[in-house]
Subunit: 196 residues, 2 copies
DNA sequence: TTCGTCATGTAATGGGTTACATGATTAC
DNA sequence: GTAATCATGTAACCCATTACATGACGAA
């Protein structure tokens, strides 16, 4: 690997370019719309990442169409190479903490369309148990606490717990949907084993 | 300033030590209970921060009680100095982005008890408009988007928007409460101008 | 022609984590 | 006596941001 680049950003870039070739500036806008509620990337991280991916042969500059004046190159449109697609599949297959931690879960979820059903399920469950651990830890620590907290601290705790509990419920629904779909797909295959 | 240290961590440490003197290990547990739903600090950041604060005279080692065997020093309990308290007040008075961004809002809110009512209100409003900007940006970007998104991307967007909208509503309630209280306090002062 | 925004890029810095190293104290 | 956890600390790394520098292009 030429330059070290964050897994999150790498996945974000490869995943976006898999949908359609893009140049850096627009890529950033896409990402910040896709993940706008969770995080935002700056050019200072995006361009070095593109450079590094280019050096490693995971992306290439797309040739401009013939009718473009030669010698002009204001936009640099990148697209995935075969290695890039392979690397993307690798990243999308990893069902570990690197997929369900706070910083990375969003981007993994955003590309679930390209992720195997089994992996999807494991990531959703991984995130859920990660959040449940957190709830447990804070609740028991809070129960141990002798001193009574002031109203602002309490309100922060309450809001925090509620937010995480909501995400857990959301994950529960998603997991149920995934499981139901898996069952359905299995039934379809049983009924018509020859269809691919 | 001796070592550069993050504002967030600095505030977290000074704020915690203002409530009661603590040693590093327990300080970390406190912080990770206080902010457990939002973030977590590691020793690798906490101890250097304490060192830096010590060098700058914002905290000092507390003398152990007399009955402790001399020469023993397994825990190092820190407490705030006068300069430390001053610095803490400075940090708590800042009503700018450094108080209402994602990384810092939680810790500022946690110490609202020690923050002036006016500053509290400005921070809450600042955070609210920050979130509203974000909602605006994503919504218009989404409206401009021609291509239809897949169901996972849509679900992520929906959940993200909903979460931020919920936080905005939470902030609205807090702001209303703060304003009502301000009015009440003003009324109290009007009724009895001599009381301090 | 000038202003906004599109577009690409780099150097310095920031604010943390991870992994490691070390040793004391407590509970069994 | 040994395992867990309490307790302190450092060096190397990571993943980004900020601030800056540059320039093309379209619209008023």
């Amino acid at each position: 690997m030429t330059g070290p680049r964050g897994n999150v950003l790498e996945l974000a870039v490869l995943g976006s370019l898999h949908e359609t070739p893009l140049h850096g500036y627009e890529l950033r806008k896409r990402l910040n719309t896709l993940l706008g509620m969770f995080r935002a990337f700056s050019y200072g991280s995006l361009y070095p990442c593109l450079k590094s991916l280019l050096n490693d042969g995971l992306i290439v500059e797309e040739e401009p169409p013939e009718d473009v004046v030669l010698g002009r190159r204001s936009k640099i449109v990148y697209k995935l190479t075969a290695e890039g697609k392979e690397r993307l599949q690798d990243l999308l297959t990893q069902a570990g903490p690197s997929a369900w931690e706070d910083e990375s879960f969003g981007i993994h979820f955003a590309f679930f369309r390209h992720t195997e059903a089994e992996v999807r399920l494991r990531i959703l469950e991984g995130r859920r148990s990660r959040l449940e651990e957190r709830l447990e830890a804070v609740r028991t620590a809070l129960a141990r606490t002798r001193e009574r907290l002031d109203s602002y601290t309490l309100e922060l705790q309450r809001h925090g717990l509620e937010s995480v509990e909501r995400e857990v419920r959301w994950l529960n629904e998603l997991i149920n949907t995934e499981r139901a779909q898996a069952v359905q797909n299995q039934a379809d295959r049983d009924e018509d084993p020859d269809s691919q």
